[in-house]
C-alpha cells in the first residue's frame, strides 16, 4: 500500500493500522533526508499550503512550516490575532478566501473541537488538523508513537501511561486512539477532576496514584497542566499538583526497571516533570521534536500525493 485511506488527517481515530505503518515508513525516509547536508527535496514544489492558526502555537507551527519548506512547498501563515476573524468573518468565509488564492492544503489549529471536520465537508483542499480544542492533535500522537517505535521497536504488549491533565488534552485523546490501534496497552493517570467522565469507554486503564502508574508502564507520556483551558479550579494549587503528580528522579530510582519518559512540550519544569527527569537519559523529549518534522513531512507528502492533478 502506498496511499492513505483518508483524504484528510482529522484525527488518529480515522487511521487504519496500514495508515500508521505507511506514515512511519515514509517518516523513516524523511528522517534520513533531514539529516543530509541539503535537507530539502522538491516533491511538493507545485503545492501551496496555508497554515491557519486560530490558537497560539510555537512548536507545532514551526515544525509544520519546516516540514513544508523541506518538501519545497510554498507556505503562507495566518494567525487569527492579525486577521479579519477579529472583524467578524466566519471560519468558512476565511478559509474560502484563502482557497480562492489557489491554496492546495490547509493545516489548521482551532479552539473548537470538530472545526477541521466541519471544514472538510465544505471545501476541496486537503486538511490537516493541527489541534482542535480538546479533541484531537493527530500529528502529535503520530510523532509520539513514532518515537516510541524508535525506542521500543514494537507496540505489542507495550504499556504506555499518559499522565497529567487528560481532561483538557487533545494529545491524550489522539494518543489513546493511536496506541490502541497499534496494539499497545494504555493507562491514564491524573487527579480525578482532570480525568474525563467517560474515559473508561475508550478501553484504557485508569490510575490515580502516579507511582503505581510508573511501576506499571514501560513508557510514561507526561502532559502539561493546561491552565489556559481551565475556567475553574480542578486542584487546590500547582504546588499541590506537583507534590502528588510531579515526577522526579528519586521516583524513577525506586522503580525496579527503566522507563521511557516523554513529554509533548512545552514542559512546566518543576510541575509535572522535574529537570533531573526531563534531562535524564530516559527522556526522549528532544527525539520527539526531531521526529515531529519527519512525521509531518510524511503526512504532507502522502496526503498531497493522493490528490489527483486538477
Amino acid at each position: 500500500m502506498t496511499q492513505l485511506s483518508v483524504p484528510h488527517l482529522l484525527g488518529t481515530q480515522d487511521l487504519t493500522l496500514d495508515d500508521f505503518n505507511l506514515i512511519f515508513e515514509t517518516a523513516d525516509n524523511f528522517k534520513e533526508i533531514i539529516n543530509r547536508p541539503i535537507k530539502k527535496v522538491p516533491s511538493l514544489r507545485d503545492i501551496t499550503i496555508a497554515n491557519i492558526f486560530f490558537e497560539n502555537s510555537t512548536r507545532t507551527r514551526i515544525s509544520f512550516e519546516l516540514a513544508e519548506k523541506r518538501l519545497s512547498a510554498d507556505t503562507i501563515n495566518f494567525s487569527s490575532s492579525q486577521s479579519s476573524v477579529k472583524k467578524g468573518e466566519t471560519l468558512l468565509d476565511t478559509v474560502n478566501n484563502i482557497l480562492a488564492m489557489k491554496v492546495d492544503m490547509i493545516v489548521m489549529r482551532h479552539a473548537s473541537p470538530g472545526a477541521p471536520h466541519f471544514l472538510s465537508k465544505h471545501i476541496d483542499a486537503n486538511i490537516i488538523n493541527a489541534g482542535d480544542g480538546t479533541h484531537e492533535h493527530p500529528t502529535q500522537a503520530l510523532l509520539d508513537s513514532y518515537s516510541i517505535r524508535g525506542k521500543h521497536n514494537s507496540f505489542e504488549g507495550l504499556k504506555v501511561a499518559i499522565i497529567g491533565d487528560i481532561l483538557h488534552s487533545r494529545v491524550a485523546l489522539s494518543n489513546i486512539f493511536a496506541l490502541k490501534r497499534l496494539g499497545a496497552e494504555v493507562m491514564v493517570c491524573g487527579p480525578n477532576t482532570l480525568l474525563p467522565k467517560f474515559i473508561g469507554s475508550l478501553g484504557v486503564k485508569v490510575e490515580l496514584d502516579v507511582f503505581k502508574a510508573l511501576q506499571w508502564c514501560d513508557v510514561a507520556n507526561v502532559l502539561r497542566i493546561q491552565l489556559e483551558r481551565q475556567q475553574i479550579k480542578y486542584f487546590p494549587s500547582l504546588r499541590e499538583y506537583s507534590l502528588y503528580y510531579g515526577i522526579n528522579k528519586s521516583m524513577l530510582d525506586r522503580l525496579d526497571k527503566e522507563i521511557t519518559i516523554m513529554h509533548p512540550g512545552p514542559i512546566n519544569r518543576g510541575v509535572e516533570l522535574n529537570s533531573d527527569v526531563a534531562d535524564s537519559e530516559h527522556s526522549i523529549i528532544l527525539d520527539q521534536v526531531e521526529n515531529g518534522v519527519a512525521i509531518r513531512m510524511a503526512v504532507l507528502y502522502l496526503l498531497a500525493g493522493a490528490r489527483p492533478e486538477a
Binding site: 525516509n29 533526508i33 541539503i38 530539502k40 527535496v41 522538491p42 516533491s43 489527483p308
Partner: protein, 182 residues
C-alpha cells in the same frame, strides 16, 4: 503474455565482467571513484558490479544506494505515490567520480531524478551512467549511458524485466514482455 529471453545467466555474467573491465579502463583502481545503485532495482546490478570489481581489483570498491522517490517529476501525476526506499551513501560524494548504476534505461526520467537527488549530498567531480539494458529510441530527456550491458530495440507497449536470484528467482535473466494482450 509473450516473453522473450534477452540475456540468460551465462551471458549476463559475461556482460557484468565486460562492464567491469570497461569501468577499470576509465577509473583505474577506483581510488577516487564510487558506485551508486539506484533504488529499487539498480542496487542488484550495483551489488554484482561491486563484487566483480572487488575480485578484479582485489579491494573493496565504494558503493551506495540512492533513492530518487522524492525527486521524481511524476509526483501527483500518477494515481498513487511511489514508495520510497532506503538511501545509504557511506562515502563523501564531494569531488568523487560517481557511476550511477541502474538496470533498465527507458525514458531517462529516473536518471534525471537521481542526478538531482545525488547533488543534495555534494558536488561530484564527474558523473557517469551504467545500465544493464538500454531501451533505445525511447528517451524523453537528453540522457545517454556511458556503459551499456545490452542495447535493445523495444516498442512502448513492451516491458523489460530483469530478474535476480536475490529476489528468489532460480536464475538471473532479462526478459522482454509483450504487454499488448494484457
Amino acid at each position: 503474455m509473450q516473453k522473450k529471453l534477452i540475456l540468460d545467466q551465462n551471458l549476463l555474467e559475461i556482460t557484468i565482467s565486460r562492464l567491469c573491465y570497461q569501468l577499470i579502463e576509465n577509473h583505474n583502481d577506483f581510488s577516487n571513484s564510487a558506485i551508486l545503485g539506484l533504488q529499487p532495482r539498480g542496487k542488484f546490478v550495483a551489488n554484482r558490479i561491486k563484487d566483480k570489481l572487488g575480485l578484479l581489483l582485489n579491494k573493496e570498491v565504494a558503493m551506495g544506494y540512492l533513492d530518487t522517490t522524492f525527486h521524481r517529476d511524476d509526483f501527483r501525476r500518477r494515481d498513487t505515490p511511489k514508495k520510497a526506499n532506503e538511501t545509504t551513501i557511506p562515502f563523501l560524494i564531494e569531488d568523487k567520480k560517481i557511476i550511477l548504476v541502474d538496470d533498465v534505461l527507458y525514458t531517462g526520467r529516473s536518471v534525471r531524478a537521481a542526478m538531482d537527488a545525488m547533488i543534495s549530498f555534494g558536488r561530484p567531480q564527474s558523473v557517469e551512467l551504467l545500465v544493464l539494458v538500454d531501451r533505445k529510441y525511447s528517451r524523453d530527456l537528453p540522457i545517454q549511458p556511458n556503459y551499456i550491458g545490452k542495447p535493445v530495440n523495444t516498442m512502448q507497449s513492451q516491458r523489460v524485466m530483469v530478474e535476480w536470484r536475490e529476489q528468489g528467482k532460480k536464475k538471473d535473466s532479462i526478459w522482454l514482455f509483450n504487454n499488448l494482450d494484457t
